[in-house]
Symmetry: C2
């Protein structure tokens, strides 16, 4: 490809609307253009990169025995009502009404299409396992689309769906996809972690997130500095601290603390650190009152609490609950709790003593509260939100919160969709049974943005070879010098003949613009053919990833360039 | 691919909803499945064929210098209002409102996206010509989607858009696309005609339709039996008949024809053929009355009349017009027309004499009307609708009406979109000028259906090699015979090694089912490995297109199969 003919209008200035590097650089380097909030046109360079990601995904899916189909984007709303997802998605779902008044949606994912599709063919157990996938645009009406391709309203996804006869088969199909996903992200050159995500309180099964590390990522995970522990933030359990050493305890003392219903006010008033105070948070779990104790500097992890009581719903106390049960909001302490209140404490509470906590009277706290002397704890559980600096449950090392972009997510669905949609196969015993399903998503357009986050510097993008729109740019530094043009063209031709994906920058623009664009677009290797170099019988080369510059004698230019390319990430 | 693993659930019965062969067979052969009216899932076999069409189109577009991009499906409505197409499309446009109340549409085509895209980069004349294309799903809310992929609401299209500096450039870009389109349809193996379509009365420019011949097609064209003339039905001009020989004319005579305002009633009453009667149809052309004369057995081609008066609008007389101008509806004749009425006659009127026509009185006609004795003709024009049996304007041969499926349509747009959208480039003189544009569509999913219409028989589909999902099926006729299985597998492997796209039918079903499915799916070549054949040291082969059967010695099976494949259409 000749850059003089390529539609690649790079931008000199940072676009005002772009807030993260991938968004800014994909716009500037002419990979994408915005059409509406969260909706983009993919330009020729962007399309080449996207197609490379698609090809990697397709190859690995095919190799894993999945079969490609293509499902519609425009879908009848009916099956989505059957599964309850029409309401669950709510405003996230793009809805429309056709000219005959039928409700339709734009597919955000396709369980409601693929499940009836397979069931409609009345398969027998002999037709299973079956794994169908597609690569197609998906739609979510995000309230605030942002970060370019990272949170768009129209995005390209690979979605696969496995159908099995039994749970054992489903787990096997899941593992096959898990392995294929690793190959996909490895081949894309992404630095990523795999985290077993919180199964959620809806009784969902095992699921894993594939998270590309990125400072701008909105998806958090927890990792040990020593690399032996990875977890979803909602599921991560820090190592419990050492219990407080036995010894003398202070006496319980009531303090006047007017107008201090918050931990912040309390620590200011009494001059004690928040970690020495004890929060006593009240919840209603299906009618039963539950008091949760955590140190004042920690937060209760509600999802952990919900999981503990699942399927009973758990909700924080509201004003009416305080009134009804006679608790004093802002001044609750565990002392003298009625017998019917279940008192749960996080493991970290074992580490403290002589707590400052509520006195169960307005404007009063106590100091020197100790268990079991002053209050009881019915059970110790893991109940705090994880935070930086917590200790690794495996090795005691320091935990860090990592930021990432989720690029893949796989789920064991069991019969979550097959049951409501009455999607069955005929088993060996002649009985119709619901499929055991799995679903598996990869964000194709998101991978492009995640890779841009991981592979860029001040000057622009610096693609890993597997995702680069072109591998090598041959840059004509002096367009008016016939010999420069001839040699550049020769090198370009030879690179193409040798199978490299090369472009030649033959545009009628200053050499400086070409250098800037080459760095901005991020071809892994640059070959610069210029007058000065030719006089010395040489060309200049640059490995974009490291910025490493080198020279090669003219006759070796092509082989040195290819060699450099083989060293690109 | 092993058919035991392929998701290709063929159907034994004709689906009730399918009314044409392509629809019926694409469903039965497991190429597509319906999800909603005019909305289909593409199954693995269908996807393979679709991808082959895509690849052909992509190769020819790239070779023609067009560059691939990908534009969104979900679009802001605003630019569509600017161009007036929001209203023009009307109910055909799928409309929705996002969560912030913004009006959006699903793209039926993309002029309103690509034009601002290119203009937004502020190109100079040096950046032109430019041709951008995409292959993406398009949306039209058809009132009555039907014929499967032929008239769907979601369909895959290649759409290209050329941007030129001047008309000359636009015409050149248009010609490049015209030639590329011929290569595309030739490579797809379609039998098609290229017809210059009626430019329409909206001042549109030159445009051509690429029409795949098909009996079920809804798009008509006119062709000479001798093959020297092709035209759009609206634009076709039959050769004018010979003028009537001079000679004695009958006298003008008034007849009582009570209650016969129609030609049909008149011919019954008087016992004359309709061709001997003269219709005198009144129109209003911008306030002026126009009488159009055509023989009673012909229809006035209103589009031809409209073109004659363009840009003045033309409409048929309404009751109020008859009352106001004093004409008697159903009994109008050209005799004694007021001077201010323009009398136009089709050329065919020259061929008649002694006409029966209206007497301009209720319930009365005249016989023996002749021009110029009894009425004047201001101008002779081509004004009749074409019909079967008309004479070719080139050679006088017989014209036929052909039926087809439009698979491609190309337009010279001039500044139709660039002007309202204020899409300009900077010309050499430093002045911003609107682009001269062209647009070029190919129906990808439609080609699949059109090819299915052209290549099928009673037993099923019979794909041309270029579009076949797989080229050769190796059929294991006796699954319980180890030698049959071994030989079939060996042939299958060898075909793959030789680069053929082969499948092996290794399913645990009766041989009859395999034969039926092979014919239904339409692989160009079948290789049958069975016990009986092997005993004679042979395999059976079949060329699906012709049904021609042959045998080959076992060692030659692969080369004979490949040879047969090379003879497939």
């Amino acid at each position: 490809m000749r850059l003089s003919q390529l539609f690649a209008p790079t931008l000199r200035e940072d676009p005002a609307e772009a807030d993260v590097a991938s968004h800014r650089l994909l716009l500037r380097a002419a990979f994408i253009r915005q059409v509406a909030a969260g909706v983009y046109t993919t330009l020729p360079l962007g399309l080449r990169t996207m197609r490379k990601i698609e090809a990697i995904v397709r190859e690995e899916m095919d190799a894993a025995g999945a079969q490609e189909i293509r499902m519609p984007i425009l879908l009848p709303a009916e099956p989505w009502k059957t599964t309850g997802r029409f309401d669950l998605y709510g405003e996230l779902l793009f809805k429309l009404v056709d000219r005959h008044g039928r409700e339709m949606i734009l597919g955000p994912t396709q369980e409601e299409v693929v499940t009836p599709l397979v069931a409609g063919e009345q398969p027998s157990y002999r037709d299973l396992p079956l794994n169908l996938y597609q690569i197609e645009w998906k739609y979510r009406d995000e309230f605030r689309p942002r970060f370019g391709l990272l949170r768009g309203r129209e995005f390209l996804m690979k979605d696969a769906y496995s159908f099995d006869r039994d749970e054992e088969g489903m787990v096997r199909s899941y593992q096959v996809m898990y392995d294929a996903y690793r190959r996909v992200f490895d081949r894309c050159g992404l630095r990523y972690v795999i985290v077993e995500a919180d199964p959620g309180q809806i009784g969902g099964g095992v699921n894993h997130e594939f998270m590309a590390r990125a400072e701008v990522g909105e998806d958090l995970f927890v990792e040990c500095e020593r690399g032996d522990y990875l977890a979803d933030t909602e599921a991560a359990r820090p190592m419990p601290p050492e219990p407080a050493a036995p010894g003398e305890r202070a006496a319980l003392e009531v303090l006047d603390t007017p107008d201090t219903p918050t931990i912040e006010g309390l620590t200011r008033l009494l001059g004690v650190p928040a970690s020495r105070t004890l929060k006593c948070i009240l919840f209603d779990a299906g009618g039963r009152t539950v008091a949760v104790l955590v140190p004042g500097d920690r937060e209760v992890a509600v999802p952990k609490l919900e999981r503990l009581f699942f399927p009973t719903p758990v909700r924080p106390f509201e004003d009416a609950d305080f009134a009804e049960r006679g608790f004093v909001k802002g001044y609750v302490g565990p002392q003298g709790m009625p017998e019917d209140v279940l008192i749960l404490a996080d493991h970290s509470v074992r580490a403290g003593a002589d707590w400052v906590t509520g006195a169960n009277e307005p404007d009063r706290h106590v100091r020197g509260a100790n268990t079991p002397r002053d209050f009881r704890v019915d059970r110790y559980e893991d109940l705090v939100e994880i935070r930086e600096g917590d200790r690794c449950p495996r090795c005691g090392g320091t935990l860090r919160i990592g930021r990432s972009i989720v690029v893949g997510h796989i789920y064991q669905l069991h019969t979550k969709y097959s049951e409501p949609l009455k999607a069955t196969f005929i088993d060996e015993d002649g009985i119709a049974k619901p499929f055991q399903m799995g679903c598996y998503g990869i964000g194709i357009s998101r991978i492009m943005a995640a890779a841009a986050e991981q592979y860029h510097d001040e000057a622009g993008l610096a693609w890993p070879r597997a995702l680069a729109p072109f591998e090598i740019v041959v840059l004509i530094a002096n367009r008016d010098d016939e010999r420069v043009v001839t040699e550049a063209e020769r090198i370009y031709r030879e690179l193409l003949d040798r199978g490299a994906e090369a472009v030649i920058d033959d545009r009628a623009v200053a050499a400086g613009v070409k250098f800037t664009d080459a760095d901005l677009i991020g071809y892994p290797v640059q070959v610069v053919v210029g007058r000065r170099g030719l006089e010395a019988g040489e060309v200049d080369l640059k490995l974009r990833a490291t910025g490493e510059r080198s020279r090669a004698p003219l006759p070796d230019a092509v082989s040195v360039a290819l060699d450099l390319l083989s060293r690109a990430p």
